[in-house]
């Protein structure tokens, strides 16, 4: 099992979190910390870029729920991009796609934030 890597980049009013490696319960501290930094920096939207993700278990999906709750509490939009068909299916299966805006690529996600 590999570890989680998180890159944080600010693009306009959005924060882009590039998520790589494995997303499991063990990713909690890194993901929560990066997400908190994005909100503290004043981002009005957070885009989770999953194109570098290699593995996610049910603990990882649980983390997405807590991020979503935190985003809703802060009035921040949460978007996802870079999802393979497999992970897109998982978000659909778990009905997370009803609350997280899924975009096909980074440019479309940023355009959606700018609208």
């Amino acid at each position: 099992m590999t570890t989680t890597t998180i890159g944080l980049e600010r693009v306009g009013s959005a924060a882009l979190l590039r998520i790589g490696g494995d997303v499991t319960t063990a990713s909690d501290d890194e993901l929560t910390s990066a997400f908190g930094a994005a909100i503290d920096d004043g981002a009005t939207a957070v885009i989770l870029d999953f194109s570098g993700m290699e593995y996610m278990n049910s603990g990882g999906i649980g983390l997405l729920v807590t991020l979503l709750v935190r985003a809703q509490r802060s009035g921040v939009r949460l978007l996802a991009t870079g999802l393979s068909d497999h992970y897109r299916q998982i978000l659909s299966l778990t009905r997370l796609d009803e609350a997280i805006e899924i975009q096909p690529d980074e440019a479309t996600a940023l355009a959606a934030v700018a609208r």
Partner: protein, 240 residues
Amino acid sequence: MTRERDAGNWAQPVERLSAAGVAGASVDAVSGRRVSGPLQGFGQLWQKTFRVRLEGTDLSPQDVVAAWKANFPSFWPGGARFYAPLAGIAPGEVALLDIPPVPGSPVKLSTGVMVLYADDESFTFMTPEGHTLSAWITFSAHRDGDITIAQAQALERTSDPFDELAYVLGANRLNDRFWRQTLENLARHVGVVTPIVDVQAVCIDKRRQWRHAGNVRNSATLRTARHTLTAPVRWITRRG
């Protein structure tokens, strides 16, 4: 590195559940329903973690999870029934449940779960519409030094306002007791003499999701109450 090495661990997408792979249950309250997770529920969102240290055993996390999957129904406290899928606890399988609303009650709440995820060290259930909780619950084991720890972790909201009221009035505590006893039974099964279960509960979201108050239309609680109240009518109809 192979991408998506978790692919076989997740259930396949499904629009409506089917309990065709379950035998023995008298009521199927799941087939035809959708799954419902923490986002679709009504009440406050809680994360509850139940842990037991398997002191005095030399089982690996994989051993513990294998035993848990194989004997899941037998670890439940008395009065509750878990009708396991014939194919076992595997991704996408559906199980049916009969749970007494309060211990000792002759009335049983009929509902079920879908196996959302399963691997060698964990498995996760997701509830269907109508279940009292809109939840995921993950059963897992891991090492802490030389000791293996078994854990059940739920991410749960009550499904509708009636369930939330029941939860506040005591169902929450009964639910905690249920999982504590389950972990104690698992620990005894693998040889722990005096298991001690640690419980942590954190409220992740205090808000109630009023837009999901309409979940009450699927309520297993109300359906069970209706089924119980109309039992004499069905009995008379059958006789005559």
